[in-house]
Each structure stands twice: as structure tokens, then as C-alpha cells.
């Protein structure tokens, strides 16, 4: 079985689906037996969600207005 350090190093890649089938199998096998790494996996998932949620942004209306003005000037 791979070590916790090896499993944790690849958890985001595991969530991204960018580990190959053999590595995925090793991580799956580790997670079945390691409660702490399951906690790390859940946390990595939440951290990704926190990052994704921060994409929502109220862009300033005045800046948008100026950028639209640029477009008007480029292509009247």
C-alpha cells in the first residue's frame, strides 16, 4: 500500500481525474484503509469548492461602461 504522504501528494490530481488508472487504483486502495486521508480528500474537495465559489464577482458597472465605450470606438 502507498504511504499517506504519497496519497496526499496526489489528492487534487485524483479529484481532477489526471492520475492514471494504476495510480488511481493505489490511491483508492489507500483511502479504503486510511480514515485520515479520507479527511484530507474531503478537505481538498471543500477547498476546491471555496476556490470555485470565489469566482462569482460583481464587476463594477462603471468599468463595464468604459469597456463598452471602447468597443463602440473600435467598431462604430
Amino acid at each position: 500500500m502507498i504511504s499517506c504522504a504519497d496519497a496526499v501528494r496526489q489528492l487534487w490530481e485524483y479529484l481532477d481525474g489526471t492520475v492514471d488508472a494504476a495510480e488511481r487504483g493505489l490511491i483508492d486502495e489507500h483511502l479504503v484503509r486510511c480514515r485520515r486521508c479520507c479527511g484530507e480528500l474531503d478537505f481538498a474537495r471543500e477547498l476546491r469548492r471555496t476556490l470555485a465559489d470565489a469566482a462569482h464577482d460583481d464587476v463594477p458597472a462603471d468599468v463595464l461602461r468604459r469597456l463598452n465605450q471602447t468597443l463602440e470606438e473600435l467598431e462604430p
Binding site: D16, T18, L51, A55, R66, E75
Partner: protein, 185 residues
């Protein structure tokens, strides 16, 4: 096909939002630059459905070029130390909220969207761009590699280092901005 103006107008809020996360206060300038470049190259766009990714690519490269031009000196980061850092373990070890039943979630809940974006701005652009484009805007690592003209392995390596740096900066930001003070029970 729609005119450049109509295609670009549809994308403006998204482009501005992305630029704000990539270059902060320089967002307006960089979107202006992106619009000018895109207008000059508009004859290269043959499929309107490709316009969002095409504009994103121009914007991301403009952001990268601007950040590079402004970098004062190469970043010196001890990646051996960063690689060993685990935010999950740090939170468990430091136990900032002793009365909490869900310590790790409570830690994350302390961060507003603005806080998360401020943490991202602490990262060198080389690592910030992949995190923003892939994890916030939903592009594939392969698509970002095409946008930047770098091998996929380069983007995957930057994503890996970027995630680890993001974890270390989340903790430092929390310490420096008073997010670890638990309210009195």
C-alpha cells in the same frame, strides 16, 4: 457571424471578472488591451462558438505578459518546504477553533470571496493563472496549455505547485488578517 462588437460585448462581464482575479487592479487596462488585440486579429476567428475561448486565450496571455513585465525579480520559493505543507494537518495541529466540531470547514468558512481572491493575488502569476483558469473558470488543463503555448506537463506541474502555494498562503493570510480568532463561546 456576429460582429466583433456584439461577440465581445457578450463576453465583457466574464472577461472583466477573470481579469480581476488574474491581475487585480490592472483588470480594466488588460481587458482594454485584450479587446484591441482581438479586434486586430478578428479575421482569424472563423467560428463564433469559439469566441469565448479565443477571447479568454488573448486575455490570459495579456495578463501573463503584464505580470511578467512587472515582476521585480524572480520569485524565490522554497518548494521543498511548500511541498511538505498540508493545510489540513496544519489546521488540525494548530486547532484554531477549540470549540468547533467541524474545524476544517469552520476554517474555510472564515474566508469571504474577497479573502480568497486576495490569497490568490499573493501567488506569483505563473501559479495563479492555472488555479484561476482551471479551478475557477472551468477550463481543462489541456485547454490552458494550448492557450499559453506550453506543454500539458508544464501546466499540470504549475497546478500542483500552485495548489500547495495556495494552501500555505491560506494559512498565512488567516493568521495575518485575524481569521483565526474564535468568537467567545
Amino acid at each position: 457571424m456576429l460582429s466583433f462588437r456584439d461577440l465581445a460585448r457578450e463576453q465583457l462581464p466574464r472577461l472583466l471578472s477573470l481579469a480581476r482575479r488574474l491581475v487585480g487592479d490592472d483588470a480594466e487596462d488588460v481587458v482594454q488591451e485584450c479587446l484591441l488585440k482581438a479586434f486586430q486579429k478578428f479575421d482569424q476567428l472563423h467560428d463564433a462558438t469559439a469566441a469565448p475561448a479565443w477571447l479568454t486565450s488573448i486575455l490570459v496571455n495579456s495578463c501573463r505578459d503584464r505580470a511578467r513585465a512587472r515582476a521585480r525579480r524572480p520569485e524565490e520559493i522554497d518548494f521543498d518546504q511548500v511541498e511538505r505543507f498540508s493545510l489540513f494537518r496544519k489546521i488540525a495541529y494548530e486547532d484554531p477553533f477549540p470549540y468547533s466540531d467541524s474545524l476544517h470547514l469552520d476554517f474555510l468558512a472564515e474566508f469571504s470571496r474577497e479573502d480568497v481572491r486576495a490569497v490568490l493575488m499573493r501567488l506569483p502569476e505563473k501559479y495563479r493563472i492555472p488555479l484561476v483558469v482551471v479551478y475557477m473558470d472551468g477550463y481543462l488543463a489541456r485547454e490552458l496549455a494550448e492557450m499559453l503555448g506550453v506543454p500539458l506537463g508544464t501546466v499540470l506541474a504549475r497546478l500542483h505547485r500552485g495548489r500547495k502555494l495556495f494552501e500555505t498562503q491560506m494559512w498565512e493570510y488567516a493568521e495575518q488578517n485575524g481569521l483565526l480568532r474564535e468568537a467567545a463561546p
